[in-house]
Symmetry: C4
Subunit: 276 residues, 4 copies
């Protein structure tokens, strides 16, 4: 009986977690979940159209109940089979480890808004959109897996340089906002009522978005704005250079590895090893 | 008779397809077609000015009829001589292979709108502009050919990384749009009536275009907008880094080939040449 | 007595300047100053909200007095202990050296506005925001130190190329502004009243910010604007390329150092090791 | 007499063209011309302010006459001494060669508007701003000379790839404009009256400037706009990647040259040449 249950649990784990290529049930389950997520995303978007909501509101309600039921069941099954994932842990520890893992937390947040309205009055329905994060996992299954891990590795390697760049930018934006507030507050009190409003201008300018809802009209304000816009070019150039060099580093490491693998050769004249 | 026809077909093929440098008729035909395309593009642009259309409408009509006649004749000749292009295929197969090739399909779409109005009521006249794609083929003739294939090769090599970047961006935009819709819908119901409208905002912000027709006015909306704009910098930096490394990879491969020629190394044990 | 004073001065210097990891008092002082700076920044931002200022104005006033007192005391102590920093200089020279160092000047400017209103009528309160520059020094303490110096080194190495790029851009902007002024002044005399106004347009276009407050409406103006916008792409591409190559240079120098260690080559004539 | 004239001509040439470091008169002339150019630029900018022009119009008039007199004299002297520059040419050929050189043509255009109003009725005064191009030549004198030639070399080496990118972009913009015109003309006939107007939208979107004066309002128009904006990211990424690789190429060539110079070494064990 115990072995039977164990086998059954293993089978459930194989099905709900990514299994082998030739495991028909596992693949069917994957396709089913992916389809459910895409339908959910479409439903959330369509539901936001008021006219559509008025007419088919009950349908969206029903579909949401069914979706949450499926995702909840899947979540419970994954908590139950967590000891198959973390095999060296005890059952209860494995479940806790799974529950506090980022992936599981996101999944939990995606179904929680359905249960919460009974408790919390906030509108947390947007959390349902978190379901799309699960689509990311599709990339892990296929030939994009290498590219994904490469991009991730580059960003991780260059983390410190990128954080430095962002930090300096943030301090710069803060100083520019304060300066702009003192320059423009008397002339445009409605547009720059406080430093936070100037902060909004600084971000829009530095990132070169430039919505055009907030811009300086005094001469000094325009000079500051021009300087910030030019620095914005630097804000693009620095991380791009950092990331470029990150990709190059990965590239040259691969080349070096290939070289090392290839170059374990032997001299054909005397038979001695070269490069040792 | 049969041989004569064959020779005639070969000659037609030589003329309409890119021939030798010193083939006068072939070059004349090329210049004629390129001139026709440029005149067509100019005609389509001029025709869009209402005042010009009112006055010279009949001229544009006549020119369009002549153009379509020429392009149709050329298209038929190319289908007819397709067995000269795919020499190892049978005549009928060669024609079908040519018709379903992307280049031929674009050419077909460029003349089809003239014949279609009799069948389909849609306004497909914009398809006439597809004729400009043929101008691309000029690059294949000359010294830009290497540069074109280099750019193409880099984009192809880095396809997976670029697709991953675009996919992650798309999911991010989708999530940001949903969040923005829930944040701003009560304050600006006209600007953010549904998630698709918020999507328009998200694309304009992430690509740092920032038309200024749609922007948040709440504090949380502005914070989200700032975050997306900063991530937009990353959206520029990542593909640029990827493409940079792609160009460098091509470069270093060329260098390695050169290096192999140069790097005549010698065994340290016997002093004989390695790699010969 | 003299030795006692010297020891006391050394201890003060250790505490106010960055000390050892296990120096409790020194670390406590660091945390205290950083907290004071962050509170100051928050106060300056909050104070800019008129409603907040009306209600809690006296609190901000008191906090500012306390802050300036602390920063002034710290400044005086650092001037006093300057001979511990520049040990080979005489006391008075060390103090002067410290006072005219950029870091000390910024710190001085950050407290000066408090004392100045009695002398100068200008509103220099924005200078208080200079206090955030001190937050930059946090990076020097930890593992971001390498990344910071790398970014700094790259920018320094590529200084000349970047200055050239900015100079050419500046001359280009100046010429485009003049041209645009002559093109648009008759049609939009309010928007382009003089060349400086056109300069504002040129900067907004070249940096691709595009607020939308100033744009050409004539055909020639639009053509010029399009050209400038396309050149703006180049303005992003050039410094990015320069900075990318700067990061790569740093990278390859590191690699070369590693290579030198690895690349124990051997003479082909005698088989002995080269480079040892 | 003839020799005296020749010596005098050589001396004039040395003074007006860039001479030796220790040639006092030559340096004085350089500083004088650079000052004149900067004053001219300032005068053109100030003159564009209507109130300034009203009050000091006669001053600007006088200064312009003096400037043109000086620049005209310098131009004549440089034509006269052209045979010192192109020493292997005959006198008359040297003058013609100088007159049709780009540098001389720009200088001519910069003084021509003063003489032309008597002949041509157009307002060519903006051409006076061409005088700033002469400031570029300052860079040739000093330590920025290497950086300038490096940037120039990279752009020249990558000319073909950059032209290809711009050409493809141009065709894309043309097609997108036509499509947008057909999509939006019925809904916004005022905003998209013809394809050229749509072209203005396409350039503003692709370069991510986004003034906000022209944007689509239909669903299909917005989808097209989003696509073009995303492609705009590519328009930034491609030339940046190309230019980055160009700078890297220059870098690695320098390194190779250094390697070649260094590696002309001799084995210290047997004294034979390595790497021959």
């Amino acid at each position: 009986m115990l072995i039977l249950e164990k086998n059954f649990k293993l089978r459930v784990f194989e099905i709900i977690e990514k299994g082998e290529e030739d495991d028909f049930l596992s693949r069917l389950f994957d396709y089913f979940i992916v389809s459910m997520i895409i339908l959910n995303v479409l439903a959330i978007i369509l539901e936001s159209f008021y006219s559509v909501y008025l007419r088919y509101g009950y349908l969206f309600k029903s579909f949401e109940i069914i979706s949450v039921a499926i995702f909840s069941l899947e979540y419970i099954l994954r908590v139950w089979t967590a000891d198959q994932k973390y095999k060296d842990k005890k059952k209860i520890f494995a479940s806790i480890l799974f529950i506090i893992s980022p992936i599981a937390l996101i999944d939990l947040f995606a179904i929680l808004p359905f249960y919460l309205p009974m408790i919390i009055p906030f509108d947390l329905r947007f959390l349902r959109m978190l379901r799309i994060t699960r689509l990311m996992r599709i990339f892990k299954l296929n030939r994009y897996s290498n590219a994904l891990s490469l991009v991730g590795r580059v960003l991780k390697n260059k983390k410190e340089e990128l954080i430095i760049t962002i930090s300096i930018t943030f301090l710069l934006v803060l100083f520019a906002s304060t300066l702009m507030y003192y320059i423009e507050q008397d002339v445009q009190p409605d547009v720059f009522p406080n430093i936070i409003a100037a902060f909004w201008w600084a971000v829009a300018t530095l990132t070169t978005v430039g919505y055009g809802d907030v811009y300086p009209i005094t001469v000094w304000g325009k000079i500051l704005s021009g300087l910030i816009a030019v620095l914005g070019i630097g804000l693009v150039a620095l991380p791009t250079g950092i990331i470029s060099s990150g990709f190059m580093e990965e590239l040259s490491q691969n080349n070096n590895q290939n070289d090392t693998v290839k170059s374990a050769k032997y001299c054909k004249h005397c038979g001695e090893k070269i490069n040792d």
